[in-house]
């Protein structure tokens, strides 16, 4: 290769690539808490989130991305949670969101 500065590179695709994502962590999370899959994406958790009202933290989007094998930034993001528990109170599917936050933190600490 020559070192030519074109002034741009080849943009990387933004698409979630299920074929090449490492789904082992996400499978382990779902295996430990299958109720996570029962999420219907209503957004109550995010709407009621103390942290989400002050930061970009969006728990619904975060755990959906984690289930697709997108872990980058998830651990840092989840640390914004104040563990107040309001999300668990409002979840219409009865998902133990607080336990889930702790589980994701535990599983994705090295990402």
């Amino acid at each position: 290769m020559r070192n030519i500065n074109f002034g741009y590179g080849i943009s990387r695709p933004r698409a979630i690539d299920i074929d090449n994502n490492d789904l082992r962590k996400s499978n382990a999370i779902i295996a430990e808490m299958p109720e996570l899959q029962a999420c219907i994406g209503c957004g109550s958790c995010t709407a009621s989130c103390t942290a989400g009202n002050l930061t970009e933290f969006n728990f619904r989007r975060l755990h959906t991305a984690v289930r697709r094998g997108e872990y980058k930034g998830a651990y840092e993001d989840i640390n914004k949670c104040m563990l107040c528990g309001k999300c668990r109170l409002v979840c219409p599917r009865g998902i133990n969101t607080r336990a889930l936050i702790m589980l994701i933190k535990r599983k994705l600490g090295d990402f």
Binding site: I16, P34, I40, T64
Partner: protein, 340 residues
Amino acid sequence: MAKRVVIVGGGPAGMQTALELKARGIEPIIVERDVELGGKVRDWHKLFPSFTPASDVLDPIIRGVKSAKIRCFLGQEVRAIAPDGVTLRSEERIHADAVVVATGFTLFDAHRKQEYGYGLYSNVITSVDLERMMNNGRVTLADGSEPRRIAILHCVGSRDEKVCQRHCSKVCCITGVKQAIELKQMFPTADVFNFYMDIRMFGAGYEELYREAQQRYNVHFVRGRISEAAQTINDRIQIKAEDTLTGRPLRMTVDMLVLLVGMNGNRDNESLAASASLNIAPNGFFEPKDSFRGAVCSQREGIFFAGAATAPKSLADTLAEASMTASTVAEYLNHKYNTR
């Protein structure tokens, strides 16, 4: 002499109406386009949400029609209808005191959604193909092997202006949930992904089944419509969608793509309606007189509806409506002949 009612269509709606008319001492005559009674349910393996074998429901009805010696014109198509009878394509006229339109629906032709490659790519199948495979006892890929990753796409030929089908076909969502569970039961290690726009769980037990698919069977639900499918070099299917809940495009390769085909109005609804001055709703189905107290009545006295001729319906709804049609027809005949 017994009053006579011609029923156009020998599916569940037509047969159930016939049985209940017969029980009221009225003479039903069924005219069925196909050479067999039973309609599309014949291809079905199990019924949502209870996984009851379709034959457990259908067979007793067919046996009932046969043992009640209800006259059936099979392999005969109706060209025109009127309150006093129908005209067949053969120009034969069958006279009656009332007519029931129980002509059902047409399955959406998946070839029309060219971007999914149905008919071109060997592992793109429809929900009906899957039921037939299950009826034959074996679900496999085209090369005979087992699928390890399956995508099920909701709303193929429903809620889609591009193919002139704006309506919701109602039963596909729950069918997709049912089929996802059946696939997981057959192939427990396979991954099943349902791609949906909205999940519409309108019936008793449906929402519960949806949750069971999610939580117990680990079926992945992705909110986003697949925009195109393409065959890969080893006959797998590459699909693209948006995972709208993360706001990002999503792509993956699957072994099998199942298209949940919708219910469309029959092509000849227009001409049948024109022959009797009935109305066709914008969705292509017959329009009932009113959707509350006249749901099985047409705009013409003496012509009635039963089942999916007026809108997409589940089998349970269809059978319930057939009972209502029978009692409405009986009341009509009673009123008509006792007051004259």
